[in-house]
Amino acid sequence: MKTKLLWIQGIACNGNAHSFLNYTYLEKFLDDFEFINHPILDCRFSLQEVIESFRECDILLIEGSISDEFLRSNKKITQIINIYAPHVKKIVTVGTCSTFGGIFKDSPYDNSHGLIFNQEKQKEFEFKQKVISISGCPIHPEVLANTLYSIKEGIDLQLDIFHRPKIFFSYTIHNGCTRNEYFEYKIDEHTFGKKEGCMFYDHGCQAPFTHGSCNKILWNEVNSKTRVGQPCMGCTEPTFPKQNLFTTKKNMGIPHSLPLGVPKRAYLTLSGVTKAFKIDRLEKDLFDE
């Protein structure tokens, strides 16, 4: 039997809905799941029909920031959530906006926030225990699909303090990055799009302190931001979006944000040692000569 999903949008840009359409096995997914309503896909019910009263549904997916002022089809988004929340098995916040508030915290709607978090701060919500957060701007389609399959199969996902499944969010984006050697020896001779150089030291890469699996589970099964040569922007974190995303904030040359859990003294000592060595192989282009 197909698992029934309702994908509802708060203040959103459609980015997560579009990202999910890139899921490689979408056709198979639609054999196993049915959207009773989705902002883009054809569905059995219209938006009007699903918000009038509860329709049979197993999982509620919420995309976009939430504000009590925001209406969908003349109904407050908070009211729509409350129609479904008591009855569904799980509620999944799809993307950083519905998880933490994200970029639409700055929307004209008053008090925009995530479903159970306003950035790092917890919010009251009666059905908090049902919530699983899939943060990201946008979400990684495979991470969302695998989470939904886990719910369908009754797998008890371990969650972190922000309700994100640990299986996807225990890692940092740095884990699996093909530029790790450049990071180890502090080489940021980078030009956007080039294969060489680490982007942590000058180009704003937030991978060493951002949770996610982008370099473990590749996007479109092919690539990731950091592999292709653009810095990680920290889009899965409550602090997203920061400013000046292509520049590393430094105080007298020392990065303001350090790799997760690494004490400042340990980092400075270690980086001082590695900086003392010049590794010719890493100074040259990979395909030189």
Binding site: N251, G253, R265, T269
Partner: protein, 199 residues
């Protein structure tokens, strides 16, 4: 009295050698000179340090750790960057007077005989304990908006070059006054040069 441990023995050799190196110079001081000053046989000396170069590198690491520990005490205090600069200068000048061989070694052996330290002490590896504390001081000062953000070495050179220069003049007996008489002025000069523009 308990027999000194191997580690304690190593430390006493480093301290003895440090005195000779900083007074007589690195090249004129020999392993037999050091052994003689410590009442040890030359053969036994080699049980602790395989060569004079290795001993020299271990000494600079020892001094860096010692200075780093002193600076860390200041870094850990909940005081302003201005007060920390004053405390740094005072500590540095105090050590220059009470343990002059430490600073002398740094200036006259480590900085003046780079060829001895080129293998194994590349970059700032052997002085990292000390340099790390200076980095932490700068970083926290900028973060608190008390110090101006600038290139690390511009600030480091101004700070340590100034202090090193004063201690050098003191060692050469050129300074007309005792070092402690310069603490307030020098600390203020450094602060004026490093402070954030709005302070």
């Amino acid at each position: 009295m308990a027999k000194p441990t191997k580690e304690q023995r190593r430390e006493s050799i480093m301290l003895g050698a440090l005195k000779l190196f900083s007074v007589d110079g690195f090249y004129t001081t020999t392993i037999p000179d050091i052994a003689k000053a410590l009442n040890m046989s030359v053969g036994n000396m080699y049980n602790y340090f395989k060569s004079k170069d290795i001993l020299a590198k271990e000494i600079i690491k020892y001094i860096s750790a010692y200075l780093g520990k002193e600076l860390r005490k200041i870094n850990d205090k909940d005081i302003t960057s201005k007060e920390k600069i004053h405390a740094f200068v005072k500590t540095y000048f105090t050590i220059a007077q009470t343990e002059p061989e430490m600073i002398e070694y740094f200036l006259r052996v480590y900085l003046s005989n780079r060829e001895v330290f080129k293998d194994g002490c590349e970059g700032m590896i052997c002085v990292s304990d000390f340099v790390t504390e200076i980095m932490i001081f700068f970083e926290e000062g900028v973060e608190k908006k008390e110090l101006r953000d600038q290139d690390f070495f511009s600030a480091f050179g101004l700070f340590m070059g100034y202090l090193g220069g004063m201690v050098f003049l003191y060692g050469e007996k050129i300074l007309p006054q005792e070092l402690e008489n310069y603490i307030d002025d020098i600390a203020n000069n450094i602060y004026q040069a490093l402070k954030a523009d709005e302070n």
